[in-house]
Symmetry: C2
Subunit: 457 residues, 2 copies
């Protein structure tokens, strides 16, 4: 049942999923004979103020994209119609397939600014052409997985359900968001297609429209529980939440008399902490301690964190819109930059956008308590420091995926292990400490020598 | 060359693109025999604080989705595997196709809170099942078209280029965002696949990596202009913008000597207003008044508005990330609510989420100056007030698209006309006036009578 994402959202002409300038630059490289190997680093320049760490994601889809990259006749015909490209370049594209190497952090890895999520080494035009798609795929998934991880941390073990399909950005955005949330530790999704494609558990409750389609609220509750006697979660706020809670008690008793149990109730609006306490009281007074309370309605990790700290009796959280668009930090300053061309190390020094040169490796150290304590960004060729975890590994060689992508459940476990190893004061939502990153001496020396040479460029 | 979006991003199992609860609710409706016609309204409850109007978009894709909606054997097999649905319901789904009617505002229409963007009337299980997809498609496109219109208004006639592919949310999100920006009045996109599929002009410049791939910056400039002597836009900020501007002058003169003209330069970082003035001065001193200045780098309508007001010499704007994710307002409070079932008008009264009952029509009035001055939200059956524009029209009947969707250029003109008719003090970015919306007497009376009856529900 588990299928690659490329079968879900299939671009008819994936090679055209690129910015025009990638093609014009590639055309110029080809004309100038600049086809030596180039290395590009994909990384985040700085964290949004609201984030203290990121979780790398998107690699699976990025590698499949690279492996399948081809220009069809129809795509070439369109490019010819633009009247910009000569026959030599169109013929180059006709024979093009991606033959590069990729090093990358596994999905689910915690990542900090300046640390490459992935590095591509390929003939310059090849490495250039894939920029847009790689950024698109890695950016969105890293963004949403990070946001979802914050929700999961805030819930401190209470299940999070991904509810965001309707306000997720686009169709594949919704499916990717469900996958990201699951990697980050969400228990399930409401998105059936994501469940089908990614093999994620699907769950759901009922909508206000269901309740209002019946002439009486309690008849709606009864009808739903007739169809799903062991899986019913009643939505309480279509009219009046507390009145509905008493009706839920009635239906729960009817279910008990038939040997079933009401699974839960959902609160979706109003003063959630107060209502949750009142509804819990109504349920408990009726001996229905087993009925769970799910809340939803525009939540994010701040609400969850506050309510959990305050001991509000909530059993699980439906999180949608704000998670799927990462509402408080809706984009990352992610870049894909040339760091080496042929034998020459390169960088850019634009104000606020200076990049680190060279192919890199990131080493992560654990302290005496077993938690992560420091990262070292080094050149890839430097000797590995003893006892450190090397985060980047080879994942594609000569355009072929090096080994099957880990199963989603394994990615999810990797992410959970990483989060558990992050120091409490770094992963906290409130005034987190900045995680320490060092740059190796060799990297700093190389960077400084290149910067000194810029006036001559 | 113009193809429907469904051929670009094709979901293998579109009918599964739904929240699980739509299926469980539909199963219950079928079991209870509740298959009378139901009407759902899709609307936005309130504007984000940063918005004074919205522009409706997404209808084309929504109607294609509805028309193609089917459950394949593979989809049904998956649903069976969930162990929730009985044979009767699976057989109902097997024979399912959408046979409803849809009224909608054309894409490119300005829309305000509580005004339906579209209304679906279909047998209750059908109208319910399509909720998630309709919201997903209309939400994202309305969000981005609105943001893009603000950028276009701020630029006051200077071209906007959509640059956001790399940080747009997902693959189809990027293509949809390019389409939305074009509807809103953007001149072109950098996204080649969007150009191919939607027949939008594509443009582009060069990246920092291009410049840094050469050992000398001016050699990069020369090489690019060799390949594209009449279409070269030189990126100036890889190292030092002003040094690069002098190099651009040199290359422009070389181009002139060969009978060509440098098209432009791009500034992507640093203090843009100061650099733009300095670069304009350098170019003009060299007699290169015709060389255009394009700026990019994390802009949105606020920057554009300020720079245009300040007379900064900028000829066009490349706008990406913040437009494609609508960064300052990354989601809308958009809902799809049951307003009538069979002969019965319905509503919900959840705190902060009360909805207006009944099938509706929206009338827009023009004042003596020809600009829009007021909207009236009425029941669909009410007599049309004289001289008002009725915004909702029938677009689908019995599941078939009623007439071909307008061409993208026509949608774009519709949007431009609408924006031109909006009063200046409503469409301004700074402290806009709230556009007046009235509710018809009959609608208010009906709403009040339903609310009075709720305690009995």
């Amino acid at each position: 049942m588990n299928m690659p994402a490329s079968t879900v959202v299939r671009l008819d002409e994936p090679a055209l999923f690129t910015d025009l300038y990638e093609l014009t630059m590639a055309a110029s490289y080809v004309r100038e004979g600049m086809t030596a190997p180039a290395t590009f680093s994909l990384f985040v320049r700085r964290l949004p103020p609201e984030r203290s760490f990121l979780i790398a994601a998107g690699l699976r889809d990025a590698l499949e994209y690279l492996q399948d990259f081809r220009f069809s006749d129809r795509a070439l015909e369109y490019l010819r119609s633009l009247d910009r490209f000569d026959v030599d370049f169109l013929s180059f594209l006709h024979n093009f397939w991606f033959r590069g190497d990729v090093w990358a952090m596994p999905e689910g890895t915690i990542v900090f600014p300046d640390e490459p999520l992935l590095e591509v080494t390929a003939p310059l035009p090849q490495a250039q052409l894939v920029e847009g798609a790689l950024l698109n795929l890695c950016h969105f998934e890293t963004l949403v997985t990070t946001k979802a991880a914050r929700c999961v941390l805030a819930a401190r073990g209470r299940p999070i359900v991904e509810f965001g399909m309707r306000r997720a950005p686009g169709l594949d955005g919704a499916i990717r968001a469900a996958r990201c949330a699951f990697i980050a530790g969400a228990a399930s999704t409401s998105n059936v297609l994501a469940g089908f494609v990614e093999n994620i558990p699907v769950t759901g409750t009922m909508a206000h429209s269901y309740v209002s389609a019946f002439t009486e609220e309690i008849e709606a509750f009864r009808a739903f529980s007739r169809s799903f006697p062991d899986q019913t979660v009643l939505l309480l706020d279509t009219y009046d939440t507390l009145v509905a809670a008493h009706r839920a008690v009635e239906v729960a008793r009817e279910l008990e008399s038939q040997g079933h149990r009401l699974a839960g109730v959902r609160l979706d609006s109003g003063d959630i902490p107060t209502l949750a306490r009142q509804v819990r009281h109504i349920l408990n007074q009726a001996g229905l301690e087993y009925v769970r309370i799910l809340v939803s309605g525009g939540l994010d990790e701040r609400d969850i964190d506050q309510w959990v700290r305050d001991g509000v009796p909530i059993d699980s959280f439906g999180v949608g819109t704000k998670m799927d668009v990462s509402a408080d930090a809706p984009y990352l300053d992610m870049a894909y930059k040339l760091v080496r061309y042929g034998e020459r190390y390169v960088l850019k020094t634009s104000p606020g956008k200076e990049t680190w040169t060279g192919e890199k490796q990131v080493y992560r150290f654990r302290g005496a308590d077993g938690r992560f304590c420091e990262d070292l960004i080094a050149l890839r060729g430097e000797p590995a420091p003893p006892g450190a975890l090397a985060l980047l590994e080879p994942v594609m060689q000569a355009g072929r995926i090096w080994r099957p992508h880990p199963r989603l459940g394994d990615v999810r476990r990797q992410c959970a292990d990483m989060l558990a190893s992050l120091p409490d004061d770094v992963r906290t939502l409130r005034d987190p400490r900045r995680y320490p990153i060092r740059y190796s001496e060799r990297l700093v020396e190389l960077q400084d020598s290149l910067k000194a040479a810029i006036p001559a460029i």
